[in-house]
């Protein structure tokens, strides 16, 4: 699943923006939060981050990836559930589709209690840079 490369690229381009903004600083450590719904292969993502970092002069950055469990709350009846409660019902093709565009989960999963497709993704979607630790350059 080379979609991880696209996200790794997104992370690194964001970091390049940060280095431009703080040109007298170096990035030491970045914590990336990935929603479980993205269905990311962490090993592939970490590998992609390392490889791309090398090509962009960011090889000294330490990357930490945290996965947030996906959780849903029904807007119709208030029931809450987790992706892990329903994942078994999804076939391989559907999982792949959700991996590409996580929000289409609304097409494939309904509230386990009332069947409504109108629910909130409380957490566990998207990608974000949770923190970026900068250090003043020694030179």
């Amino acid at each position: 699943m080379v979609h991880e490369w696209a996200l790794a690229e997104a992370v690194l381009y964001s970091l390049l923006d940060v280095t431009k903004k703080y040109s007298d600083h170096k990035i030491k450590e970045v914590v990336i939060e990935v929603g479980e719904l993205q269905g990311i292969d962490l090993e592939v993502l970490k590998f992609a981050l390392k490889e791309l970092a090398k090509s962009l002069g960011l090889e000294d950055v330490l990357f930490r990836v945290e996965v947030t469990e996906a959780e849903f709350r029904c807007r119709s009846c208030g029931f809450t559930w987790k992706l892990s409660d329903v994942r078994k019902k999804l076939d391989e093709a559907t999982r792949e589709a959700i991996h590409f565009v996580p929000d289409i989960v609304h097409t494939f999963i309904q509230c386990p209690r009332c069947g409504s497709p109108d629910y909130e993704i409380v957490r566990g979607r998207g990608v974000c840079l949770k923190s970026i630790l900068l250090e003043k350059s020694s030179t």
Binding site: H3, E9, Y13, H106, R125, V127
Partner: protein, 267 residues
């Protein structure tokens, strides 16, 4: 920390937003087809424009961002088109047009999403789709001035231009005027306006007068064509319709304005 000044900065930054700019770096122009009301011909205009311009030798992309009711794939007859995975998603080519749609992931199933989901889906699709070097990327939007329009303006602001569509009906014009106001406030330029499904040339006088007041120079009319329905799904047939001929004429003028300051790359 031994070093001075270590701000733990930019919390909760979505990195996908930063990459979107790079994804359209080699796209000359991004043009969204928009309207105030539904059913006025945005999808028809977006898809036929893509076909007409591709045929003319331009490198064209078509992105269907009407998540609730994607239809470009039906017009193109491209129900089976699928993207290729390669460091992201490479859009398939349909009749020479690089094409991307949510239908490639959900098929003909419904997509009941609210604003926050729509925005996330849009960010994801724009972040992972790898367009090649294009002269023009056309975007088909849903009607109105809600999430899709506002978000596409936010994410692609540096490149975005629009073409507005209306029918001769006052109801449709009232809608498109609101859209035009919003776009103006967002500083998104309007390249032209298309009055579609015209049955009688007298009925467009009032519309033309109205939109000239807005300062839109390029106003085109497309006839109502009862044969269009039969051509849906067959690009060759579509390209032979009266509507396609008028769309070609409209683009002659649009391209003159749009491509003027930059080099046009041969296809």
């Amino acid at each position: 920390m031994p070093e001075v000044d270590t701000p733990r900065e930019v919390k909760y930054l979505d990195p996908r937003v930063a990459i979107i700019r790079h994804r359209v770096e080699h796209v000359g122009n991004v043009v969204a087809i928009a309207s105030g009301k539904g059913g006025v011909g945005k999808t028809t205009l977006a898809t036929l424009s893509a076909l007409v311009l591709s045929k003319r030798g331009l490198r064209v992309g078509l992105l269907d961002l009407d998540f609730n009711c994607p239809a470009c794939h039906i017009v193109l007859g491209a129900q089976d088109a699928k993207p290729r995975e390669e460091y992201g998603l490479v859009p398939p080519k349909v009749y020479g047009v690089e094409f991307m749609s949510i239908a490639m992931f959900v098929g003909d199933k419904e997509v009941p999403m609210r604003g926050v989901d729509i925005v996330n889906a849009m960010i994801e699709i724009l972040a992972i789709t790898r367009w090649s070097k294009l002269d023009l990327l056309l975007i088909d939007l849903p009607p109105g001035t809600s999430d899709e329009v506002l978000e596409v303006a936010r994410l692609l602001k540096h490149k975005l231009k629009t073409i507005l569509v209306t029918t001769p009906s006052r109801l449709s014009i009232a809608g498109v005027r609101k859209l035009w106001e919003v776009l103006k406030k967002l500083n998104v330029p309007t390249l032209g306006l298309v009055i579609n499904m015209v049955r009688n040339i007298n009925e467009i006088k009032a519309v033309e007068e109205e939109v000239r007041k807005w300062g839109i120079e390029n106003v085109a009319t497309l006839p109502y064509d009862s044969e269009l329905e039969n051509a849906i799904g067959s690009p060759d047939k579509l390209l032979n319709t009266e509507v396609a001929r008028e769309i070609r004429r409209f683009w002659d003028k649009v391209l003159e304005v749009m491509m003027a300051p930059q080099q046009r790359t041969p296809g």
